[in-house]
């Protein structure tokens, strides 16, 4: 029989061959991935892990502790949790995130996304251009724009409101930076919500209208169930970003009297400016943990939606 002349199947040459589309092979593929991973490992993973150790020492840049940092256990954390300045900063950060991101950006963003659907194209283009501009301009530029806007003597706000001599940045520093960040970050919410609103099937809205639902009922029963996922995504992302926002430092530098000293500013002041690196790292770790919680929830949502 012909079959006996062909060698048994198991003697066929076993080769390590490329199984990917371009015939790259494992070795080349690894060579492609490794440089990126090395860079990420050094400048992203290592700092995060090092934070765990540093937060337990009295590390300083200068003096005795710089040469031989000592292990101080949880001292930095205990100190932080007892430090009224830290607690004040934590509270201000909460105000900042809730005020500017959760309330300010998402509500303004939703209002913009919803109203701009029905206005003439030109109006829409102009409004969107300004919203986008606030988002993409560099932070040191927009910070000065707000310093100028809120200036005590010749700020445009005082001229418009008829409140000459009102020092907004000194009297209401938190309100100022909350309004500032609302202004700066609304674009993201607007874009996300308008994408979400576009995904609401018109047939469902028409059905609701045919059975006589009011505007509010349509919003509650048809629109909201569709965009619920987007609302959550949006809240998590803008909270995460606002929590890590350093721009207010450029406007108020945490002052006056630490009245706008949100956590990023607090870390900068205590670690880089005062040189208490161990203590600063302990605060950093707390920030990383808060970031971790927000990011884990976000990624779980993202993954659910992708699968």
């Amino acid at each position: 029989m012909a079959l006996t002349t062909s060698p048994p199947a198991d003697l066929a040459p076993a080769r390590e061959a490329a199984t990917d589309a371009a015939g790259l092979g494992r070795v080349r593929a690894s060579a492609f991935v490794v440089p990126a991973l090395v860079l990420i490992a050094i400048f992203l993973v290592y700092p995060a892990l090092w934070t765990l150790y540093l937060g337990l020492t009295n590390y300083r840049l200068t003096g005795i502790a710089a040469a031989r940092p000592q292990f101080v256990g949880l001292d930095n954390y205990v100190r932080a949790l007892r430090d009224p300045e830290f607690l004040n900063s934590l509270w201000l950060t909460l105000l900042y995130v809730i005020g500017s991101a959760v309330i300010g950006q998402s509500i303004l963003g939703f209002v913009l996304a919803a109203t701009l659907r029905t206005v003439p194209r030109v109006v829409r283009g102009v409004v969107e251009a300004f919203v986008m501009l606030a988002w993409i301009l560099p932070s040191s530029v927009v910070a000065f724009l707000w310093i100028a806007l809120l200036d005590r003597d010749s700020g445009t706000v005082n001229a418009l409101l008829g409140t000459p001599g009102m020092a907004w940045l000194l009297e209401y520093p938190m309100l100022s930076i909350i309004v500032f960040n609302t202004w700066r970050g609304t674009a993201f919410s607007m874009l996300l919500f308008s994408a979400a609103l576009n995904a609401v099937p018109p047939s469902q809205l028409e059905t609701a209208r045919m059975v006589g639902a009011s505007g509010w009922q349509q919003l509650r029963d048809v629109v909201f169930p569709h965009i619920r996922g987007h609302v959550l995504t949006n809240l998590l992302l803008i909270s995460l970003w606002t929590f890590n926002d350093f721009a207010p430092y450029l406007i108020t530098a945490g002052g006056p009297d630490n009245r706008s000293e949100i956590l990023p500013v607090f870390v900068y002041e205590s670690a880089i400016f005062d040189g208490q690196l161990g203590f600063g790292t302990a605060i950093s770790l707390l920030m990383l943990l808060i970031n971790l919680v927000l990011a884990v929830v976000y990624l779980r949502l993202l993954r659910e939606r992708r699968s």
């Binding site: 079959l3 062909s6 060698p7 048994p8 199947a9 198991d10 066929a12 040459p13 076993a14 080769r15 061959a17 199984t19 015939g23």
Partner: protein
Amino acid sequence: MADIELRRLVKEYPGGVRAVDGLDLTIADGEFFALLGPSGCGKTTLLRSIAGLETVTGGHILIGGRDVTGLAPGARDIAMVFQDYALFPHMTVRDNIAYPLRIRKMGRPERHAKAEETAEGLSLGGLLDRRPGQLSGGQQQRAALARAVACHPKVFLFDEPLSNLDARLRLEARTFLKRLQRDLGVTTVFVTHDQAEALAMSDRMAVMDAGRIRQIGTPTEVFQRPASTFVASFIGSTPMNLLDAVADRDTLRVAGTTLPLPAAAGPHVRDGEKLVFAARPEYMTLHREAEPTGIEGVVAIVENMGVGSLVSLEVPGGADGARIVQVTVPEGQEPEIGSRGWAVAAPERVLLYRHDDGELVGSERAGAGEPVLAGAGD
């Protein structure tokens, strides 16, 4: 020009799934060969293994007598047309067709001349400067064919070449493809899940299931004498009637009727053996009057097929209630719904399968070339 020989070919994926399971096959030089089967049967994996895009885990692939099992795809002297055509979107039609020649380091003027000549032959002359995105589906297909033709391979491999075309264009492309292959005379293997396509185009075809070949033959052989109930149910635009039957001495009891057991089947069937009676709707006739060899039933549905109609008879009895027997009737002879009818199979067209393994009765001796059932081999 070359033949293709597959010896004991195995493709096993990590995890133990065998997409190709110990397969032997020889495709003759210049043959237009179809690999047909349901999705997941391993036909595409087999084609990709011949191309070298899948690494086989056992066995050998020979093209023109040369063992190419270990060679890279580019060294096998083949050309492949993909289901989505894989025309490079950033290149013009000219550059697309010339790309294989560029890989072979042919100079720019020569390869462009070659591309233009090939394109002309496939009536793509006016489209050379377009991008693939600006072509219709049919033009894209021809551009992909031109790219394959331009490099003069020993073998063409087509993966579902017609599935991205709409129904009307598909018929046209079928004819075009068949003529092109005949003109070039290049050994061609194509994969399809559409039995009509395989029947219409191929010189020979292999019906695959679960990584194995269930039948190899010319379209006529496969259509008229499916080797198993699997092939029988897969081939044909109207499904074959498959009815449980029992051999009773020299008769066959099926659906309440007793038919004479085909003489040729006699020696292969034990008395009382459970069988499957098979007859294509096209090979049966519908009678209004009682017929001794007819299967009696009530007309349930009449479907207009253009030329003629497909009549479904509800046949009472059987363990699981009523069964359906389908018969095609000529134009103008459609029966009334609810009327009685007798479906008579042309005796020489009746096939018998074993109930336990679904194999054609007598097929174990088919290799000897002896026609088992009267007239079945013509």
